[in-house]
């Protein structure tokens, strides 16, 4: 019971401890706020600029979620196609890896030329950066069906579609939800990359502006808000995951026990 409480509180304790150490280092070594502002200064900047921060956080949040939603839809569809057949898998895999290896920073200027400055390049960058893990995980879930289980069903006359519907798609769910947690944090990276290059709103834009005005506490306030948004979305997806595919955790736990 006691260790349980400590375990539940430990994320908060560690976060608070990190900020306290940070504060102490900044004060103790008299670090120039222009190099590294102390948390107290960052929080003060948050209070002072709460409205622009809130407005731009919201822009970053919705563009990220829009790009992420696109990635989920395309990622699942493409993952199912790729996991369906070995030929498609082998054919598409090099293309996808090549695509994923391209730094998305390099793609943003192209998107800006196509769609202009604004939210659309941010949404598309978030989409491009986050759909790859979804595709790979869905495809992996489908292509790692136990061969014996497949034999059991095929011997009964099951078609490929039967096997996919009865086994493939349900067993892919843990892989999918695992990928969503990774993808949502990547989507934030994509959005902010695009915002820092070409945007007129969003936390990335705000941080670039604040940086060019030498307002370092405000830059760090933007960073902290980004981190907070990422954590909140991660927690939401972790919760959804445990709700929908709790069986995957429990069955692996019982196998380990």
């Amino acid at each position: 019971m006691n260790t349980n409480t400590i375990e539940r509180l430990s994320p908060w304790l560690f976060t608070v401890a990190m900020f306290l150490i940070w504060e102490a280092v900044c004060r103790g070594f008299k670090v120039d706020p222009f190099i590294l502002p102390a948390p107290s200064q960052i929080f003060m900047a948050m209070g002072q600029y709460w409205w622009p921060l809130a407005k731009n956080s919201f822009v970053t949040l919705w563009t990220t979620l829009a790009g992420f939603a696109l990635a989920v839809v395309f990622g699942i569809v493409l993952g199912l196609v790729v996991g369906w057949s070995r030929t498609i898998y082998r054919g598409l895999y090099p293309v996808m890896i090549g695509f994923n290896s391209v730094p998305k920073v390099a793609v943003v200027p192209i998107l800006v030329i196509w769609f202009g400055i604004g939210e659309i390049p941010a949404i598309l960058t978030a989409f491009l950066i986050s759909f790859f893990p979804i595709v790979v995980n869905v495809a992996t879930g489908l292509s790692t069906i136990e061969p014996e289980l497949e034999d059991v069903l095929r011997a009964l006359g099951a078609k490929k579609l039967d096997i996919m519907l009865k086994i493939g798609i349900p067993r892919t769910q843990p892989y999918l939800f695992g990928a969503l947690k990774v993808a949502i944090t990547l989507a934030f990276v994509g959005t902010v990359v695009s915002e820092t290059i070409a945007a007129n709103a969003g936390l990335g834009f705000l941080m670039v502006q604040a940086g060019s005005n030498f307002q370092m506490p405000l830059v760090f306030a933007g960073l902290l808000l980004l981190a907070a948004e990422g954590i909140i979305m991660y927690v939401i997806f972790a919760y959804i995951e445990s709700y929908f595919v709790g069986w995957a955790f429990r069955s692996s736990m019982s196998a380990a026990a």
């Binding site: 034999d151 011997a155 009964l156 006359g157 099951a158 009865k166 067993r171 995957a248 196998a255």
Partner: protein, 262 residues
């Protein structure tokens, strides 16, 4: 009397990147309806290939396989299969795992929605006969290994297959659970009366359960000996300690030692 399963002069070679693997060579094997046959042999003797050939998952390179007078071409649909790994679906309750074949195989498939209640009742009854009364609504991870294997047996039998194919189904269990499951299989077989091909490494298991034991050679697998086992039925588990029983096990062991060296 014509054979129910008739395997004649069957050969099979797997084509691989590093040359073909000659798995079976001129295998002859036949079973009467309702017979319990065990296939034993050194590892890599093509026993698992035999499973795939009989269920129609693989076509032989040469020779013919007939079940109930019809040549096997493609999945046979009237066989149930169980393996060393129970392979239960963790997102389905035990009963829904047992019902899985009915969602696939005709004529049950088209009736499944309409007659779900009846099928569930049937599955519950089958679970009860293997000692899992009241476990239908559990999830597989809540069951022990032996219980999971019982569920796997029920899944293999739910669609009333005429032929049950078992590929070392008890190999991963501890000795006591294994003997318990021998009795479960013995009782199911005597109650329902299906035909069984049991592939195993365990000579005591083969001797305790089977009517006939077929010994296969090392790769490429062919039949080297067929040994009828005529202990009266029903056989009690104490039979395993009978000197006559032990003699058979020793004789089989010697034979397998011989073919391993050859």
């Amino acid at each position: 009397m014509t054979a129910f399963v008739d395997i004649k002069d069957v050969s099979l070679t797997y084509k691989g990147a590093a040359g073909g693997v000659h798995a079976l060579d001129g295998l002859d094997l036949s079973l009467q309806k309702g017979e319990f046959a065990a296939v034993v042999g050194p590892s890599g003797c093509g026993k698992s290939s035999l499973m795939k050939l009989v269920t129609g998952l693989l076509p032989p390179d040469r020779g013919s396989i007939e079940i109930d007078g019809t040549a096997v071409r493609g999945p046979v649909k009237m066989a149930g299969m169980a393996f060393q790994n129970p392979n239960l679906l963790p997102w389905r309750r035990v009963i829904d795992n047992v019902l899985l074949p009915l969602e696939i195989v005709e004529p049950h498939r088209s009736r499944f929605r309409a007659e779900k209640a009846r099928y569930r009742e049937e599955a519950r009854a089958l679970l009860a006969t293997v000692g899992l009364d009241g476990f239908g609504d559990r999830y597989p991870w809540e069951l022990s290994g032996g219980m999971q294997q019982r569920v796997s047996l029920c899944r293999a039998l739910i669609h009333h297959p005429a032929l049950l194919m078992l590929d070392e189904p008890f190999a991963a269990l501890d000795a006591f659970t294994r003997e318990e499951l021998w009795c479960v299989l013995r009782d199911l077989w005597q109650k329902i009366g299906f035909t069984v091909i049991l592939v195993t490494h365990d000579l005591r298991e083969a001797t305790f359960l089977a009517d006939k034991i077929h010994v296969m050679s090392a790769r490429p697998g062919r039949l080297v000996m067929t040994r009828p086992i005529d202990f009266p039925r029903p056989r009690p588990i104490e039979l395993c300690f009978d000197p006559a029983f032990t003699d058979i096990v020793h004789a089989l062991r010697a034979k397998i030692g011989e073919v391993r060296k050859a």
